[in-house]
């Protein structure tokens, strides 16, 4: 082929790919691992042949950092937790209001729906609806640590060197509840909250001796727990459910003061370009048969009516082994994080990490 014939061919090829791309819309999801499994994406693309789904996996902090870096562009649908919307919107303007008429909210659990809406309404506009929820609490190997009931038990010298936790705000809040405080109520008065944080820091620094290591992600936690290197830990419920499938002695323990519940939501990034496709996705994944698939892959419970019955059998068994009705009634939902609290908590966590003890 001479240069003269190559060039038109290349141009033709480029033209074809461009026209091919423009007819199909791309839905760029910014979500958690296992929240958009391949089988669900395939079903969605089969139902909506004109939409391609692109998934970026992340977590709360990185989602906000990514959206902040781009001013809210680059993604069409994000899934931050319900407590991460209000302050982030006030400070960095990352999201755009939802058009609730385009979302089938009738299938969503009313208490979670109103809860999320109350938390994420700014100037009369709603910025998020709930999707999946779950809890953070404790996990214990029943044969080795049968008496573990509260956050503070991780610091029980009985289990010296055999417990773990992740150094994030969850353990700060859990420990505060365990000490009889109500940190969420103290959000209103940041001086009072700082006083609570100081007490929590002292407690957790003294507790360092008891900790084998701070876990960083689900994988190293699982490895430590399954190998028996630790007998109890602070954990996400989904990780505990997964381990329950491998060893029935490892159960999720909702702390006596209440497991901390989070709700992951749907929110539209401010400069998203495929809102219609995003609404389609939201309605698609709220259907009962899809909910079961999502719960199977993520271990989280959907915010739709009758979600408990839609859990796959193994997850249902794990949830039943962990939660009584009282535990469910006792759930503590993460309160909206007011501006400035992240900084205070971050400093406290640094102090704990840097302290030498144990």
């Amino acid at each position: 082929m001479t240069m003269k014939t190559v060039l038109p061919t290349v141009l033709l090829g480029v033209g074809l790919t461009c026209s091919g791309a423009s007819s199909a819309e791309t839905l760029r999801l910014l979500t958690w691992g296992n929240y958009a499994p391949d089988n669900v994406i395939d079903m969605f693309e089969a139902a909506n042949p004109d939409i391609d789904v692109e998934v970026t996996l992340s977590n709360n902090e990185e989602m906000i950092a990514k959206l902040r870096a781009t001013g809210g562009s680059g993604f069409d649908l994000a899934q931050p937790s319900h407590d991460r919307i209000y302050a982030a919107q006030l400070e960095y303007e990352l999201y755009k209001p939802l058009d609730l008429s385009k979302i089938d909210t009738s299938t969503m659990t009313p208490s979670l729906l109103t809860g999320v809406q109350e938390n994420t309404t700014i100037d009369g506009e709603v910025y998020a609806v709930p999707h999946l929820w779950g809890t953070s609490g404790l996990m214990a190997n029943k044969t080795e640590a049968p008496d573990l009931t509260g956050w503070g038990d991780l610091c029980d010298p009985k289990y010296k060197g055999k417990t773990s936790m992740r150094l994030t705000r969850t353990i700060l809040l859990g420990t505060a509840f365990d000490m009889g405080e109500d940190p969420f109520a103290a959000y209103a008065d940041l001086d009072e909250y700082q006083a609570i944080l100081d007490k929590v820091a002292d407690k957790l620094i003294a507790c360092k001796e008891n900790i084998k290591a701070y876990w960083q992600g689900g994988d190293d936690l699982s490895a430590m727990m399954l190998s028996g290197e630790i007998v109890a830990s602070e954990t996400w419920d989904s990780t505990a459910y997964k381990l329950y499938g491998e060893n029935e002695n490892i159960v999720f323990v909702p702390p006596a003061t209440g497991a901390l519940a989070w709700i992951d939501t749907f929110a539209l990034p401010r400069k998203g370009k495929a809102d219609e496709a995003a609404y389609k996705w939201i309605n698609f994944v709220s259907q009962p048969e899809i909910v079961t698939l999502l719960s199977a892959s993520s271990g989280a419970i959907a915010a739709v009516n009758g979600a408990m019955d839609l859990l796959p059998p193994d997850k249902k068994a794990a949830v039943n082994a962990a939660f009584t009705d009282d535990d469910v009634a006792n759930l503590k939902f993460f309160a909206n994080i007011p501006p400035g609290v992240e900084d205070m908590e971050g400093k406290t966590l640094e102090k704990i990490k840097a302290a030498t003890g144990g």
């Binding site: 906000i64 400070e91 303007e93 360092k208 701070y214 960083q216 190998s227 971050g346 640094e350």
Partner: protein, 294 residues
């Protein structure tokens, strides 16, 4: 000046310009610009949501909070230790490869040193985790042989971090050392012995001075890499081991505090540059007489 001469000169200039263009662009776009951005960002103080003021508050915060500069000093100290260990272990290896090994085995040995670099940092760190954890290979072997009564935890402490870091960066010490030592004429060593020197004096007076450019280059690279590493200290480190890069990550990602994260990033750069400058002054070397030469 004739017409012909000036076109030739223009062409020469153009070639030079074109040759330098990628390098200049790279430096400008990927090094200088981002750093200017960082400095500007680090000089912004948040006074209220969406309102910022110019000021040195982020730097003052750093000075006032002992946790921050302690972590920075700790990171610097441990990086120096890693550099020294890498030099002590890497020098004999490089000497063997460059001077003692036969021509054929030289290549093979060099490849052997390179192979670990084909695997990513993350996988190498996980390798160490599998080996050293309480229920890991080393611990079980020790118990089987009877050297330990119970499970031994070798992970999650500073020594492990040092070992992991030395393993990760030692190659960057060996490569420049091999290339400098390779260029050294064997007759210089022979002459040293002929003039009555023993192994120690030959090493101290002839080999090491000759290898100095390689040593300095290796040390600078290793120190910079170690101080800026993130994965190894995080994965292998214990509950007390903070690393400064982790602080930067926390500021940027967990605390949404890009301003102070940028200040920290800049402080790390300034600190490592200062250490290297002090190192060069103390050892009586200059960049032009060492790195530029090698």
């Amino acid at each position: 000046m004739s017409f012909k001469g000036s076109t030739r000169q223009d062409a020469k200039r153009l070639t030079l310009l074109l040759l330098f263009a990628p390098f200049t662009l790279w430096i400008l776009l990927l090094v200088v610009l981002p750093h200017i951005g960082m400095v500007v960002l680090s000089l912004r103080e948040k006074v209220a949501p969406r309102i910022y003021e110019f000021g040195f508050g982020n730097y003052i915060d750093f000075i006032q909070e002992p946790i921050y500069w302690n972590t920075l000093l700790r990171t610097g100290g441990m990086s120096l230790l890693v550099t020294v260990l890498a030099l002590l272990i890497g020098f004999p290896v490089a000497y063997y490869i460059a001077k003692l090994a036969g021509n054929r085995s030289k290549g093979a040995l060099f490849i052997l040193c390179l192979i670990p670099l084909w695997v990513s940092d993350l996988i190498r760190a996980f390798g160490w985790i599998l080996l050293l954890r309480e229920s890991g290979i080393v611990s079980t072997t020790l118990q089987k042989v009877g050297l330990a009564d119970g499970p031994v935890e070798l992970l999650y402490n500073d020594a492990t971090v040092i070992v992991g870091l030395v393993y990760t960066v030692i190659l960057f010490m060996i490569v420049p050392l091999v290339s400098t030592l390779d260029g050294m004429d064997n007759e210089m060593i022979e002459a040293g012995y002929n003039l009555g020197g023993n192994s120690f004096t030959v090493m101290r007076r002839i080999v090491i001075p000759y290898a100095m450019p390689g040593i300095v280059a290796g040390c600078i690279v290793v120190f910079m890499l170690t101080a800026g590493s993130y994965l190894t200290p995080i994965l292998l480190g214990g509950k007390n081991s903070s690393w400064f890069t982790e602080q930067i990550y926390d500021q940027f990602i967990r605390r949404y505090n890009w301003e102070s994260g940028a200040a920290f990033g800049f402080l790390l750069l300034a600190f490592t540059s200062l250490v290297i400058w002090i190192g060069l002054k103390l050892s009586g070397q200059t960049l032009s007489s060492t790195v530029a030469k090698s």
